[in-house]
Amino acid sequence: MSSRNQSLRLAALGLLAALVAATALADDPLVYATIQPAQILLGESAQFTITNLGDGTNPITMPVVAGLKFEIIGRTREVQLINGTLLPSSSIVMRVTPQIAGIFTIPAVTPKAQPLVLQVNAASSAANVPHPNGRIAPPPPPPPPILSGASIPKGVRLTDDGSAYVRLGIPKREVFVGESVPIEIEVGMRSGFVSSLNGLPKLSDDNFALNNLSHQPERTEKLINGEPFVLLTWRSTLAVIKPGAFPLSAEVPLTVKIRTRPKQQSSLDDRFGDPFWQNLFGATVPKDINVTSPAQELTVHELPAQGRPADFHGAIGTFSIASDVSPTKADVGDPLTLRMRVTGSGNFDRVDSSMLEHFGQWKTYPPKSSFNTSDPLSFSGMKTFEQPVIATKPGVQELPALTFSYFDPNTRHYETARSAPLSVSISPALADSQVAPQAPTTGLPENKYAAGLRPDHVETAATSSLMPLYLQAKFLPVPSIVVLAFAAGWASARRRRGVGEPEPDRIASRTAKRVLGQMQGAARAGDAVLFFDSARTALQSVLAARWQLAPEEITTTEVEGRVGAENDIYELFALADEAKYSGRNLNATDFARWLRVVRRHLVSDKTT
């Protein structure tokens, strides 16, 4: 009995608590907001939902965040059962589309609620995209803290309605053509007054080119002169195209909310500075404007021609170099890699080097380069040149110091950075070595090639080349001399024989010399018989060969019949017969005459 009474008391207490809670909820309606997902890529959208639990009389305001676009896509009404109490609820579903990447803080829909954070990553940012293996990306970082105490930067002015400003930060010095100048563009947008950013900043002067302007500016929030501002900061480099003095400013397209009431009547709105109050009273309309930074003059000079190094390729900035080679020990013909690292800041796109070209006993190839930047602007970092080199001679070789020339805009002079020389040990190539390799160490198993080899030979005579002797230049004179000698011999034989000369004539010619010698001897002895006998014998031989007769057939009668009685040959044959049979003697003059006659017929071969 007592236990049943106790149960009834507990049930009564629970009912009383539920009634109290329901009454409290009814007295203090709940408004809350959610965003799904909290992290998206640029180009995607998130769903932002504001739910009002209660009678629906609480005002729901559209949030205004610079860089985010809110669009209402639906409204719902339903009844929810909370702690046993039926409560009506209404929701507004909005699509949130970011216009830029960054971390955005969406203001709380009520003063008691907490702000929401939406992280928008650039589409190309690989760091925050979902991991291929399905792991969940790390949670978004906390929103940046709101800094207080800041003021409008010096030299910068707000728009007339005080909603935004643009500041252009450039170096306070003169620059040079070709130089990459780091700049900073800061856009300040007053919270609740700027509804969207309609494009990227651009420069007002065409004599400059803006490089590497990122779609992901740095986003911070500050209280400037007591008003909340969202600051978007782009950092980039300025490419200077031509010399001169140019006014330079930056321009940003924005959509701001313009007051529709006089400023005196809307002072309360400004004092609160909250979109809730502006929307509540309907005091503004959107308007597209271009906000421009104050113009600043930038003086650009040509690079000086005096003192320009031969290897200057247009690099402007501050650089230093270092070099190394790997490996430091190699064989002749092995490729080595020579590296030169250029470190510093400046226009790295003009940092170039041909490194070593046609250096001594090295074979060099064109280098390749790669650049690792240490900032998003590619203004600072390290450019590495890698050049394959091949040693052609053995020994300890030294690679010379590498140089790199650039123009320093601070000193206004050309500078040449130098690296230290490098030493490399080069061994002879294996194929050129005549030294026998070491045999395997005793105790180790012999390799498969050694087992079936035939034994070594005894050293024999050596030669200077593996090329056959007949293909060596030094051997060429031998066959040449042989050929020339035989050519000369052949020509000599041809000359001695005479072209077309019959062989019997050559024999007669040799006989003629002997006969003429005998005749001269007979003349000196006064022997006319021997003289004419020798002459007749010689002429018989010559005439026999010519007339195709036997020499004994050449008689005085035959000669008379062929050449006639007036011919001196016939006369000589007649005198020979006379001297033989009558013993006629001749004087010296006659001997000389008939000797000339015979010589003429035998030697000069003028017989007819």
Binding site: D331, V332, G333, D334, P335, K363, Y365, P388, I390, A429, L430, A431, D432, Q434, A436, P437, Q438, A439, P440, E446, N447, K448, Y449, A450, G452, L453, R454, P455, D456, H457, V458, E459, T460, A461, A462, T463, S464, S465, L466, M467, P468, L469, Y470, L471, K474, F475, P477, V478, P479, I481, V482, V483, A485, F486, A488, G489, W490, A493, R494, R497
Partner: protein
């Protein structure tokens, strides 16, 4: 041919031989030394260098049975296909290139002498014809030897354990395929430390000079 011409010819030959010997310079290669070097490389487990030096030794001493036997053995141990010379190669390399060089000169002299003898006398036609034929045959043997050896003057042997054959003659060129150590390749062109080679199977590509060695050093 009289006595003075004969004397001039003999003097010319002697002069040429002396000139050849005087210009021979340092003597670096001998068949025995290359054979022993190849044996040393084989014992050291370097088949590429062993095959290279056996090939060089066989150039100087083509009919040395030990050189041929060890070359065949190392090639087989390195899993390289055997090489069998054809009949023409066997005849053309019947003697060493050194002897064949002088055989050619002698053949030239015999043929020349027989031609000159024919100019001087019409006798002994048969003898002169035989001498001319002998001289021309000796010259032909020299020519055949050159034809048989000519391809080997443009061949090289892979001396690296695994040599990449690249698509272009630069160290960074993309590799096409790799060749085993000891493989014999034909060299068709050279460029900046690289050689364009062609394998027995007809594949071609560029290989670094450090990975192969020509049979006849340049």
């Amino acid at each position: 041919m009289n006595n003075r011409m004969r004397a001039a010819l003999v003097f010319s030959l002697l002069l040429g031989a002396v000139a050849v010997h005087a210009e021979s310079g340092p003597t670096d290669y001998s068949a025995a030394r290359l054979y022993n070097l190849a044996n040393s490389y084989a014992r050291a487990g370097k088949p590429g260098m062993a095959i290279l030096n056996y090939e060089r030794a066989s150039l100087l001493s083509p009919n040395d049975p030990d050189v041929q036997a060890n070359l065949r053995y190392v090639r087989a141990s390195a899993h390289l296909p055997p090489e069998t010379p054809d009949a023409f190669d066997r005849v053309a390399t019947i003697a060493s290139p050194l002897w064949i060089s002088w055989i050619g000169v002698l053949g030239l002299a015999i043929a020349g002498a027989s031609v000159i003898a024919g100019q001087l006398s019409s006798r002994h036609r048969l003898l002169r014809g035989g001498a001319t034929l002998l001289g021309v045959s000796m010259l032909g043997l020299t020519l055949c030897n050159a034809m048989a050896l000519w391809p080997r003057f443009h061949q090289g042997v892979l001396i690296a354990a695994s040599a990449p054959v690249r698509v272009s003659p630069v160290p960074m060129g993309d590799p096409l395929f790799t060749l085993p150590e000891g493989e014999k390749v034909k060299v068709t062109a050279e460029h900046e430390g690289f050689a364009l080679i062609e394998t027995r199977a007809g594949r071609a590509g560029w290989i670094a000079h450090s990975n192969f060695a020509p049979i006849v050093p340049r």
